[in-house]
Symmetry: C2
Amino acid sequence: MADLLSVAKLAGVSRATAARAFSTPDLVRDTTREKIFHAAQQLAFRPNKVAQQLRLQTTQMIGVMVPSLDNPVFAEQLQAMEVAARACGYSLIVTTSEYDASRENEIVEEMLRQRVDGLVLTVAEADKSAVLTQLHQETTPCLLVYNPPGNSGFPSVGVDNHAASEAATRYLITLGHQQIGMVAGPLLQSDRARQRYEGYCLAMQAAGLAPSPLIEMPRHTQADLKSLAPHLHGDNALSALICTNDLLAISLIGELQRAGLSVPNDLSVMGFDGIALGKYVYPSLCTVEQPRADIGRAAIHTMLNMIQGERPVLTPLPYVLRKGESVGALTTRKTPPGISSRSVA
Amino acid sequence: MADLLSVAKLAGVSRATAARAFSTPDLVRDTTREKIFHAAQQLAFRPNKVAQQLRLQTTQMIGVMVPSLDNPVFAEQLQAMEVAARACGYSLIVTTSEYDASRENEIVEEMLRQRVDGLVLTVAEADKSAVLTQLHQETTPCLLVYNPPGNSGFPSVGVDNHAASEAATRYLITLGHQQIGMVAGPLLQSDRARQRYEGYCLAMQAAGLAPSPLIEMPRHTQADLKSLAPHLHGDNALSALICTNDLLAISLIGELQRAGLSVPNDLSVMGFDGIALGKYVYPSLCTVEQPRADIGRAAIHTMLNMIQGERPVLTPLPYVLRKGESVGALTTRKTPPGISSRSVA
DNA sequence: TTGTACGCGTTATCAT
DNA sequence: ATGATAACGCGTACAA
């Protein structure tokens, strides 16, 4: 591919003049600039960003790491980040960690070698992340997304999971529910999920209710009725559930309906995240909506500020309690049909 | 950040030797190599990829452009691409075009300046894409994803939309449906959507049935009952629908249920794409599943071959007709309740 | 206004 | 086995 030197030669000027025609056009006479542009066009010249990056010691690239793109939460956030970054002249290097610590390490190392101007990461657990502690040695600015700003020492953009979860729980209590459970993926995998459980417990206790132990699903984004069935009958049968993410909630609602139960008549189900699709399913998903696009944009703009050397000042973004058909007021009801241990076996 | 020269000095060797210690370790004596590694560690040396890229004239980066990440089809494909690329030592620069032609241009130009080793694109319409015709002038290999391999002149990985749509239609016909309609976003926006409509028409005609005109929704991924209501009663009331994508289908099913209709009893609804969530909603989505992960992986591996200079040989990937609860056999029924033009107004 | 010359951090060729 | 040196393509301080 043609380089500046060949353009300069064709235009009959020195390489420096050709370079100036592009970087500082007003420093070169109109006529010669035209000559240069013309030559560039003829040779299909295209500035080499790699050389620019080396010379200017900045890549205008931001390294992004999310756990997975199979979860629309991250995909929707990334979508907003990409648009925002591009609007500011930045490109995104996108990687997925799959919640794997060793992968997280490799990815960050790779990005640092690539000399990205900044890192925007979502890690499994910010407080006990080897990557993050190691990153403190580096000068490359780093920003977390979704991870609660605990003692990781890095700024973070996201909502207050604690408060959001409390609000969700209180909402269900307001509707008369007393037997409320929380459903999560395996092992309370992420720090967000843990905070959400804590918020739930606090809200329950504040209302004089007993929090139930966490109900763990075998998979992070797919519900399984078997794990749930024991909690749906008997004296302490739950009348409402909060799921730690929307995919879990939607698939749970599907499973319940498939088992002949009605949501919300037999059981109210609430989600967490606010993915777009939740508005369109039936029953529509009642959920705590995180402003995913706002989060993505805020992450980019904050990161750009950090790159400029500013110290970020971050206040949690506002969550929205999105009402939906999957949650209803508590109604007295008999033991629901079709949910005996036999029918779900 | 420390560079090779400072490492060399600290280790008491020349820059060349230091470089060799990393690139060709066996060409340097064990003891000196140790010295060099030690020095590198002390200085927290980290190879500069930008310099390598300039020197080696290869970035090990692939430029990826998808229409949007808000649609799980692309997100799920990208997820697979990222994993596959990373496994081969490549990074991904990810961009979203939002189906905007001018954005497509800017993005591709930007990526070429970045000297990506290859481009993997999904454009709105491969046949009439300004970007693609211009790309023929370039030497950077380019591969399409999802776009049918028409006369764009570029290889493409994806399923045979035509055949897949025919198969879907035939499936409905097999179940006894005769009044089958197809629902799409506005303007038959993408070449895929058009092919799917053509496939539907062909299958209908082959069965001696009359294809219905396309039913257009105001938005690409969100259904609207008003546009549909006219087709649901009267002599030619439809008994089955095929949507051009899964999001449309899922939201349509939601709307129908909300209007008091039963899917599939009153109306069978079929999707297209096979996003993961479709399996978990109720009724589960009957759809034509594109192997999104396979497509993503195949795209990367094909691209790597193209970068090696090989000419790609591409056969369409197999689609799978995923059965689901949203489609049932035709049953005689009266005009469904609650769908009069009044009730949806 | 334009040209000369250096450096960004590597790899690779040629000597030694 | 190691060292000196020339690229890779560009931006810019300095000189003219």
